[in-house]
Amino acid sequence: MTMPPGIEFRGKQYVDKILEKSEACGRRMAQDPIVVAASRNELVDEQWFKLLARFWGMRRFCYFIYASWGKTNIWGPNGEYLEADHFIAKQLYDESRQEAALAELITKRGWVGSEETLYAHPFAQVTDNAARYIFWLRGLSKFSCPTRFAGASLSSKVLEHSWMMEMAKAAGDPSVREAFCVYRSEAHVQMGRVILAKYVHGLLMEKECTWAANCALDLYLNTLAELATFIGVKDVGSVGSGGNL
């Protein structure tokens, strides 16, 4: 991989450290109440609708999050952060594909009369913890490029990837499985890995990235807990908090 002049993979060790924690959290996703209920085939039609509509509602905001990240990503004098533009464009498109796939699935199932009505449907509205997580991602556009990727790609996206893969395994319905698999979350984790390994250096930068990753893990876990309550699954075992890195 080519690098801007004077840049090496200085942050590689730091990336390993941050990923170790996120992946440990990710491994607990198999015990997420929604995953457990889905794998036991306990989710009824309305619960699937609630789950997918709320999840779609969150995806809707990703246009505003990643377009904002792209708009505010400024290159360094030697082209630093140039690749972040590529990554953000890819992420935005992937989010859009999943948003469209979920809307299509919900409409085809007949849960809403038309796609237009989904936008105002109460199940699709993002509130409380989910809103806090979405606003957090948008707010990251005020921070440096490595902090953004630490506060999403290397933390909450690791959880999201694990959760979606578990959901894809648990969902009996192939069209639901497809809607989860269409999203290339593993690639997004790798994007974060590249950005942090290349550009994180120095204690202050590491501290800010660690703070961002900790916040994102907690916000995402709270969002999942809220989602479980919203769709009405029994708490079969909490996945716990993100803890601190």
Binding site: P4, G79, K90, E99, Y119
Partner: protein, 243 residues
């Protein structure tokens, strides 16, 4: 009398079809000149286009941000199409960068950031600014930009893809044709569907006028950067405009 979006777009076509035909001849002549000048021309043109595409990604991002989150999901189709276009434009920067690297003009994409030939001429920066300004207008005005500006780009790309003798450079434009056609299609679709009020149609005509005026400024500046000492290109640059 109220004109439908489709009728309005046909009025644009009627005005510009003769201009497009004329421009096709200009672009063919430009490609012939590029064939004569070879790498001297291309090594300056491609870094300019690389920079332009990289900044266009940000302009498309601004357009995505400008679409309001409405309760009836209006413009959702456009927002999804723009997400795809955003990725396309990013891909195009890599296509230009790869060509510059393969031809040995730079060692990496990072070098293009500092290349004197990638530095943007002022009027081109104005053109990009005009794209950003569209966030303050209804989405069909942005669609008109897509329809005309991407349509113009498609014509240039086709001319270079088919007429350029350098196969490595020709493929950079050939492989973008499908994407550019799709972007023109986004514009056509959105004008037909959404440009259905007199107010929006007036705003579109205003934007087209501004675009023409800016094109008259940026093509000569751009040509001056590409081949500063070539009098023929200077003369064609003044013709290289949408009238």
């Amino acid at each position: 009398m109220k004109t439908s979006g489709r009728d309005f777009r046909q009025a644009i076509d009627e005005k510009y079809t003769p201009v497009w035909k004329e421009l096709d001849d200009v672009y063919k002549a430009l490609v012939d000149r590029a064939n004569q000048l070879g790498d001297r021309f291309l090594s300056r043109l491609l870094p300019q286009l690389w920079r332009f595409e990289a900044y266009q990604v940000k302009a498309v991002g601004v357009w995505i941000l400008s679409i309001q989150n409405q309760r009836d999901g209006k413009y959702r189709d456009l927002q999804r199409m723009l997400a795809r276009q955003n990725l396309d434009e990013m891909k195009h920067t890599r296509i230009y960068a790869d060509c510059c690297i393969d031809k040995g003009w730079v060692k990496s994409e990072y070098e293009l950031v500092l290349s004197p030939y990638s530095q943007m001429v002022p009027a081109w920066a104005s053109h990009l600014g005009s794209m950003d300004i569209l966030e303050h207008y209804p989405p069909p005005v942005m669609a008109a930009h897509q329809y005309l500006s991407e349509g113009n780009a498609l014509r240039i790309f086709r001319a270079f893809a088919r007429g350029l003798k350098d196969p490595r450079a020709a493929v950079t434009w050939g492989c973008q044709e499908a994407d550019e056609s799709r972007h023109v299609g986004i514009g056509r679709y959105a004008i037909d569907k959404y440009a259905d009020t007199t107010e929006i149609q007036d705003q579109i005509w205003w934007y087209i006028d501004c675009g023409e005026s800016n094109a008259k400024a940026y093509f000569p500046q751009w040509m001056a950067v590409i081949v500063e000492e070539d009098p023929w290109l200077h003369s064609i640059a003044s013709e290289f405009i949408i009238r």
